[in-house]
Symmetry: D2
Subunit: 404 residues, 4 copies
C-alpha cells in the first residue's frame, strides 16, 4: 500500500467467475443497496457482532469485476431478476451506476468453442485480466470467487496431465495472480490432481467447495439433532426442484453427482453412517430462480418405533448465495491481509464440502467461525504464524518451479 | 443398604407420577426390553459414549413404582399400546413380569373428588408412599419423575397461600421424601410461589420443565440456524395434532397455554425477538398416541426476499418421551449420589423450558450435557463442591423450618 | 338504452362493495390487462370454450364502480400490490387509465361512526348511488358484487327487526336498484331473516356465498375422492395463514366462524358425516396478500390401516379471487338479461356455501355450470321460463309492498 | 351352472398372479375378515350402495388360488405383514384357515431359470392349472388378476414373434382357460403386439392397467380441478418413496418407465398438455410396505401470479390395492356372467392407464362406473347385447385358430 493511499481508502477487489450470472448480479446490486442503506444487511454473517473489530474490509470498499462467457450487461440482467421477483422492484434502477461499473470490469471467459489456446495460455490470460483489474482500480488486493454454473463432474480418475476443466483454469489463474480463491460451486476448481503441487506450496489462502444455501444447510443442523438424541435415521431422501441456469446444469447427471457428493458428506459425517435414500435434482424452468427442496427422513425411535420428519425449503437461490459470497470475499481478503495461507477449514460454515478438516455440524462450524473471527481481531499488528492446519510452509514455494 | 447387598446390586428407584399412562408404560416395558437385549438402546442418550464411565446407574438396576389415579393394570395398558402400534407387537408379553412388578408398586394418587385431606396431609401421604417404596425394595435411592397429563395453567397471580395444584403436591412430596425431582410436563410442579423457600434450601437436585420431544426439539436447532445465518425470521406458525390423553388435556386452552409458553421461549431466546405467529394444539383422537407437528417459517433473506421453510414431524409421543425419562432418572440419580443439589441447568438439552440459566440452542445444550457427563465421571471419590449455578448452600436448610 | 347506442356498444356495470380493496383493484387492473392482450385469461372460467356463444358480456364491455369506506385511490393501491408481488411489476402503469376511471366511480360506503341514517335511509342512498352509476355511464345493466372484508358473524338468532349488518344494507340496495347481487364473502348479505320476504319476491337473480379460492376448493375435490373410494376419513384438520386485510378480519373469532361454516359444509356434504378436526385461521401480516393452507387428513383404508394425506396450498388471495369475480359478474349479468331470477344454484362451482340446492363435489358443480352455459346459449330470443328451482313467481312482487 | 348347484352356493374363483405377495395376502386375509364381520368394508367400492342389486358375487363366495414363484406359505406371509403394521395384529390368526386354504391352491409360476418350455407350453401349463382349480373347487367361473411385481418395460419395438414376458404368458393363459383377465400392474400383460389377434377375437372381458392407489389417484382429481378453474399448470413434479418388493422392482429404470407412463397419461389427459416435471420412484427398504408420494405443482393464476400446491400421500400399498383387487374380481366376474366381452373401459376408475376409451378425471370415471353398475343391474335375465365399445363380435372367434 503506497503512502499516498489512506487506510480508509483501501479498496478490495472481488473477481467473480460467472460475473454475469444471477448470483453475481445479486452480489453487486446487493452490496450497493446495503452500502447505501436501502436494505438491512440480512443474511450477511460478517455484519453480525461476531465480526465487530475483526478488521474485515467494509462493504463500501469492495470493487467488482470478473470473467464470463456471455454478454448480457449487468444492468439488464438485474432488470430481468427484478421481473422474476429475485431483486426488489426498484433496485436495478437504484444501483444502476454500480452495476454498470462492475460490468465495465468484466472480461471474456473461456475457453469458448474454437479457442485454440492451451491450458497454460488460458491461465496466463486469465491471471493477466485479474492483475490488470487490480492495477487499473488501484486495489490493495483482490479475491477470486467462482459463482459460475456447475460443471459436469470429471468421469473416472483423470490422469495428472489431463485437460483441466475451466473451473480449474480460473482457480490456477487466481493463485497465479496472487489472489485468494473461493470455490462457491461444486465444480472442480483447485481440487484437481494436476493442481496438487500448487496447493501444497502456495502462500495464499483458499476456501470452498459448494455454498451451503438450502437443503444441505438444513441437513447440517438436523443430522446432528438426530445423532445427539441417539435416534436412528433409517433413510434420508430428497428432491430438489430448481429452474434458472443451475437447474439446467444440474439436470446433467454428472453435474448432479458433484453436487450430491457434498450433500451426502454432511449426513455421513453427522450420522456416522450414510443412511438409505437418494437425492434428486430436477430442472424445472417454471420455477425461475426459485428452488424447492423436499426432504423425507425416516427414523427409528425407542423400541424401533418408526417416525418421519419432512422439510420443505422454498428459497431464492441467488438471494441465499449472494450474502455468503460477500462474507467469503471479505473473510478471505482479511485472511490474506493477515498472512494466512492454505485451506481455510474454519470457513466450513459456508460450504457443503469444506476444504481442510473440520466439523460437519452447523453449530460446531459456527463456533469455529467465531474462533476465526477472534483470531482475525488479534492479527492487525502481526501475521498469524501459529495457525494450525496449514498444509505447507509459508512462502517456501519457489514460484518458478510451479507448473501452473 | 444392608451388608448383604453388594454394590453391584445397588438398585435405584424411579417413582413415576402418572404411572399408568402411556409414557410410564413405555418406560417400564422399554427398560425391560433394552435390558434383555430385545431392542437396541435407540433414543437413550445416556447409552451413548458420552456417558461411558460417568457412573450412571445401569438400566438393569432401575426399579419402578409410582402414583396414579386410574386403575388399569400396566400389562393391560401395554397390550392397548401394542394394538395402537406404540409398542412392538410381542413386547407386552415379553415384558409382562416387569410390568406386573411395577404395577404392584403403584399407589393411588390424588386428590380425587371427595378427598378431604389438606395439602400438608396429601404431601405427607405421598412422601410416605415413596419412602415405603424405597424401604420395601431395598433401594439405594429413588428419583421422582412427573409424567402425568398436563394440568391447566394457573390463572392469574396465585397468592402464596393458595391451593397447590396436584403436580406441586407430588413435587413437594418428592423433596420431603429426600428424592430428586424431575418435571417432564409443563405442569407447575416445583414452580409454585409457595414452594420457593423449599427450592432455595433443599439439598436435592431437580430438573424440568416439559420434555422436548418434537416441535420444540426442531425449533431448538432451526432457530439457531436462522440466527447464525443472519436470516430474519418474520413469522413462525405451528399446529400440533395429537390424540391420546395429552390431546384432550391440551385442548383445554389453559393447559395449552402452559405448553406454548415453553415452545415460545426457545424462539425468543434463539432468535432474539419473538416472531409473529401462533401455535395451535388440536385434540384429534383418531391419531391415538401419534402426533403431527407442522411448522411454517416465513423468513427474509438478502434484500428482503421472502422465503419459507416448513417442517412436518410425525412421531409417537410415548416413544419419544420414554427414553428421555430413563435418561433423566439415571442422570438425576447420579447427580444425587454425587452430592449435587438445586436446579440442574445442565439438563436443558431435555426440556422446553429448562430450570436455571443455560443456552436454548440444542447444540450448546448438548455441549453443556457433555461437560456434565465429564463432571460426573470425576465425582466418584468426592462430592462435586465447586459446581457453579447452585442456588443455595448445600445442607444448610433446617428442614424443621420448611413449610412443605 | 338510447337508440344511438348499438348493441355491440352495450356496456355492463360491475359495482363492487369494497371497491378499493386488493380483490377489487386486481379485478379492475386484470380486466384491463386481459382486454388489452397483456396477459392470457388464466383463471377466467368464462373465457374457456364452455362459454363460447353463451352470450356473456365481453370483458371489454365491463365498467367498474363501487362503494368503499377508505380513500386510497386505485392507482396507488395497485402500486402497493405490485410492490408486494400481487400484480406484475408494470401493470399499474399499463392500466392506470382504467384504474383512474374506476376510481372516479367509487362512492363513500357506510355507515361510518357518527352516521345517523337508519337502515332504510342507507339502503336508499346506496341504491341511488348505483342507479346514478348506471345512468351516468349509459349502462345496459349492472351487477353488484360484495368483495369487502369479512364481517363478524351475527351472534345468536337476530330478531327480524334487528339492525342489518352493512353487507345486508348493500345487498338490499342492489335489489332496490334492480341489480343482480353476488356475495363473494362469508358476510351475511342477503342471508338475513329480515330480507327473506325480499328474496322470495324479487325478480332478480343472485348468487353466493364466499368464493372458493383455496383450501375449500381442494376439499371439494378431495372429499369426493375419499367418498368414491369408500375410504373412511377419520379427521380433517386445517390451518390457514394469511396476511392482508382478510387475515386481520378473520383473526376475529366471530368472522372466522362465518368462514369456517362454509369450509365444513363441503366436508359434511361430500363425506356424509363431519370428520374430527378443527380449522384455524391465523393472521400473519408478514405474508402480505399471500396465504398458505395446510390440511392434514387422517383416513382409514382396508382393514382399518391408518393413512394420511397432507396438502399445502400457497396462493395469492387476490389473484385467486379476481377472475372468479369477473366470471360471476358476467354470468349474473347474462342471467339477468335472460330473465332468470332467484338463487343461481348452478353457480355453486364458485362458492364455499352456495345458495340453492346443488352438489358439493367440484366435478358435479362443474357439470352443473356446463348445463347452465348451455341454457344461456339458448336464451337469446326468449326468456328462460321453465328453469327449475325458482323460489318464487316471476315478477309477482309488488315492489310497493317491500319492506327493504 | 348345473341344476344341482343352488344359486346361493355359486362360487367364483379369483386366481392371483403373484399369489404369495403382499397384495395377494392382504386380499385373501381381508376378504375373510370382512366376510366374518371383523372389519367394515372400508375401501371396497363394490360394497357401497352404488352396487346394490348389481348381481355381484358375494365376498363370501370368492375362492382364492394362483401362481407364484416363491414358496413362503400365506399364513407365514400374513404374520410378517402384521409385524410390519400392514395387517392388524390379530388378523393372521383369525384368518389362518382361509389363508391355508388359498395357499393349497397356489401352483408354481414361471418360467424359472433353467425352464426349457417354450411360450406355448408355458401358456398351456398355466391354463391347465387354472382349469384344474375351477374343476377341483366346483367354481361357476374364475377371474385372473395380475398382482405380481412390476416387470421391466419392454425395450424398443418388440417384433411380433419375440419372446413374451411372463405377464403376457399368464394373460394368454387366462383367456385360454376361459377366464376374464385383470392387469393390476403396469406390466405388459395382454398389451403385447403378439396378443393383438387374441384381443380382437376373444369373447371374454378384460381390464387394466396399473391400479390407481396413490399419487395418480390424487392427480386424477387435482388435474381436473386446475383445468376446470382455467389455472395454468406450469410444472408437476413428483417423488415416490416405497419399500417392499415394488420399491426394488421399480428402482429398475425400465420398470419405473412403465409405471410413469401411466402417471403421466392422467396429467396429459386432464390438463390438455403435459406439464414440465419429472416423477421419481425410489426404493427405500426402510419404509417396508409403506409408501410416500410428494407432489409439487407450480401453477399460474390470474395475471401470471405463481402459486404452488404440494401434496404428501402416506399410505400402505397393500391396503390400498387389496380392496380394489376384490372390487375388480367381482366386477369382471359379473361382467363375464352378463356376457360382456372385450376391454372394460368403464372400469377406468380403478386404473392409471385404462383399457379402452374413457375419461381420465376421477369424477367422470366414477360416473361411468355408476352407469356400469346400472347396466349390470338390468343384466340378470338377458345378456348385455347392445353395449357400445366392444372391439369384436361376440363368440365369433374360432378358438382352434388362435395362436395363443
Amino acid at each position: 500500500m503506497s503512502a499516498s493511499v489512506s487506510p480508509s481508502a483501501s479498496r478490495v477487489g472481488v473477481w467473480l467467475i460467472g460475473a454475469r450470472g444471477s448470483v453475481a448480479t445479486t452480489v453487486v446490486a446487493g452490496c450497493a443497496a446495503v452500502t447505501a442503506g436501502l436494505h438491512p444487511p440480512t443474511g450477511l454473517v460478517t455484519e453480525t457482532p461476531m465480526f465487530a473489530d475483526s478488521g474485515l474490509p467494509a462493504l463500501s470498499s469492495l470493487v467488482f469485476g470478473g470473467h464470463d462467457t456471455v454478454d448480457c450487461p449487468l444492468p439488464k440482467r438485474a432488470e430481468a431478476l427484478a421481473a422474476g421477483g429475485v431483486l426488489p422492484p426498484g433496485l436495478p434502477t437504484a444501483t444502476r451506476a454500480e452495476l454498470a461499473a462492475a460490468d465495465a470490469e468484466i472480461r471474456p471467459g473461456g475457453p469458448l468453442p474454437g479457442d485454440t489456446r492451451d491450458a497454460q495460455e488460458l491461465i496466463a490470460a486469465f491471471a493477466s485480466d485479474i492483475q490488470d483489474f487490480i492495477r487499473r482500480c488501484g486495489l490493495t488486493r483482490a479475491v477470486v470467487v467462482n459463482v459460475a454454473s456447475t460443471e459436469p463432474a470429471p468421469t473416472g480418475a483423470a490422469p495428472t496431465g489431463a485437460a483441466l476443466p475451466p473451473s480449474s483454469l480460473y482457480a490456477a489463474a487466481a493463485l497465479r495472480a496472487g489472489c485468494p480463491y473461493v470455490n462457491f460451486t461444486p465444480s472442480t476448481g483447485l481440487n484437481h490432481p494436476a493442481l496438487a503441487p500448487l496447493l501444497t506450496s502456495t502462500d495464499l489462502p483458499f476456501a470452498g467447495r459448494d455454498g451451503k444455501t438450502g437443503q444441505t444447510l438444513l441437513r447440517s443442523v438436523l443430522g446432528p439433532m438426530f445423532s445427539q438424541r441417539a435416534l436412528a435415521v433409517r433413510a434420508w431422501s430428497g428432491t430438489n426442484l430448481l429452474g434458472g441456469g443451475d437447474g439446467a446444469a444440474l439436470a446433467d447427471p454428472a453435474a448432479a453427482a458433484a453436487k450430491n457428493a457434498g450433500k451426502e458428506r454432511v449426513l455421513t459425517d453427522t450420522l456416522g453412517t450414510p443412511p438409505e435414500g437418494e437425492v434428486h435434482i430436477d430442472d424445472v424452468p417454471a420455477l425461475g430462480d426459485w428452488k424447492t427442496a423436499w426432504d423425507h427422513i425416516a427414523f427409528d425411535g425407542f423400541l424401533g418405533t418408526r417416525m418421519i420428519l419432512q422439510t420443505i425449503w422454498q428459497g431464492c437461490d441467488s438471494s441465499l448465495a449472494a450474502p455468503l459470497v460477500l462474507d467469503l470475499a471479505r473473510l478471505t481478503a482479511r485472511a490474506h491481509e493477515a498472512g494466512l495461507s492454505g485451506p481455510l477449514g474454519e470457513l466450513g460454515f459456508f460450504f457443503k464440502d469444506p476444504v481442510g478438516d473440520g466439523p460437519s455440524a452447523l453449530g460446531e462450524q459456527y463456533a469455529a467461525l467465531g474462533r476465526f473471527a477472534e483470531r482475525l481481531r488479534g492479527a492487525d499488528a502481526r501475521r498469524l504464524e501459529d495457525r494450525p492446519g496449514r498444509l505447507g510452509g509459508r512462502g517456501g514455494a519457489d514460484r518458478s518451479e510451479e507448473q501452473w
